[in-house]
Symmetry: C2
Subunit: 297 residues, 2 copies
């Protein structure tokens, strides 16, 4: 067994872990996401001298994941100004001297679900986190999908429900894109209380399911995943998942049938990895980076 | 060189062709898409005794493209009742005794663009046809993407423009999905004249570009293609493409930058294969089917 490092680099905290290629986490710490000059030394301190064979990073973005690019492994566009254009992968590689694998935080989680979780054994699946933002990771042919940049389909345009009381969604770039209308802060902004405090308000969750169900239909028509896994803080509202399934069924309008759509209860599911999907995915990225160095890609 | 057959199976006509693996078409006929009992013998008559080595079919759908399915190569859901559940691939294979490759009509066109057209050499690209319907083919890692079923993202939900005079779109399944609001018949239904007759009406094309631009943003966020190729009858309106590019730029809101997005004129383009992208893609499907038989997949 190898000894692997993992960093789940989020907007508020950096979870650093030591673990194995079977996804087991042996030890972890949480470091606040301050600016790089303060945060990176704390991260390096955790890993230095621990003898890791490789490191995997699942990072907020946007990221440059083009291996032929001069800025491969850099954070590019982000509202966190200090992290804009920050070469996070190269800094870690230079300081730790081990192979580093990097992908988006949500692609890492999607990879964990495809490796050990609900999407195990499936060629094409997606993972959606609904929390402070909305992020989507996509697996095609067992690998995280990138394309030109990488999926950012938390920001797709959606059809607003005419009785939505919110005039403009909270996305600083698009206003009323999916994230702008359906992320946790959008719920709080619209109804004046946090999602947890609104647990008993049916109207809140019906509207949330309308938007998330619509997004899932869009992903089903575009990616055609074999399974959809949902995670993130907003999904802790247990009443939400059945409402999303009902909206997907209603909004598909019977156009696509068969396969997973015959059984939405097992097609649209909650993560089975108990919140560890992000960090486990980073361990898988580390294992893949090590494998690539040892055996070529 | 091999001698290949190709069928571009559309809703109104079946284009049957003989050609080569370099995409060259040697001979072709157009057969009206009546019912299978009448149409299939005409198709078989064209190919029988011609000595083709393999056949490629790009077909309207939905299709079952799951090779492990008992109904692989069948048309499944379609408004054309006589073609519903029709085993088109097996019928052709049995009658002609050659390997048959099948995919959606738009995946075939996307494959032709990736092989000989605007998307040559790119790993991830999409082809969109805007005509009687709206169809999208997706190439990932150089291969047509399927996932659970196959892309059907002409039917994604879209945000209606508040001043759109059409009360309900023309999609029989969803009403006001993208296809329902932006296909050729939607334009004709909304404005009372055919797209060609409306060429000089700025309002028509501004609204059309609003919807198509929105869809392209959605595909960019989800698939992150390296190039987007547009074809189909509605795109014959030359004024439309620049308007779509402008809408994409506006609606992305500066959220994703760099790469292709720095030069939308070469990122969002018209097909360069002069309407032959569909049938050429079928020749590529035939060549791939032959290759698979000769050398294993």
């Amino acid at each position: 067994m190898s000894y692997l490092g993992a960093i789940e680099a989020g907007g508020t905290k950096m979870i650093c872990a030591l673990g194995r290629e079977d996804g087991s986490v042996l030890e972890s710490v949480s470091i606040p996401t301050t600016e790089p000059a303060r945060c990176m030394p704390q991260i390096l301190e955790f890993f230095q001298g621990r003898g890791i064979d490789a490191l995997g990073v699942g990072c907020f973005g946007l990221l440059d994941l083009d291996r032929n690019s001069q800025t491969y492994g850099c954070i590019t566009t982000t509202p966190k100004l200090r992290w804009r254009n920050y070469p996070i992968m190269r800094c870690l590689q230079d300081a730790l001297g081990v192979p580093v694998g990097i992908d988006t935080d949500v692609n890492a989680a999607a990879l964990a679900e495809a490796t050990w979780g609900c999407s195990r054994g499936l060629g094409c699946s997606i993972y959606i986190t609904v929390g402070t933002g909305i992020g989507v990771g996509i697996i095609v042919d067992g690998k995280p999908h990138h394309g030109m940049i990488h999926p950012e389909c938390g920001h797709i345009p959606v059809n607003r429900r005419s009785d939505d009381p919110m005039v403009r969604g909270v996305c600083p770039y698009h206003g009323s894109c999916l994230e702008g209308l359906a992320c946790g802060p959008a719920i709080e902004s619209r109804w004046g209380r946090s999602p947890a405090e609104l647990a008993d308000c049916e109207a809140v969750w019906a509207l949330e399911a309308y938007y998330l169900g619509q997004a899932l239909c869009s992903y089903i028509y575009t990616i055609s995943p074999e399974r959809i896994v949902l995670g993130g803080g907003v999904m802790n509202q247990q009443q939400l998942l059945p409402l999303i399934r009902a909206e997907v069924n209603r909004q598909l309008g019977g156009y696509i049938k068969g396969k997973g759509l015959n059984d939405l209860d097992s097609y649209i599911v909650s993560s089975s990895l108990g919140g560890r999907q992000g960090i486990m995915g980073c361990l898988r990225l580390a294992a893949d980076a090590l494998e690539e160095v040892q055996h070529g890609s």
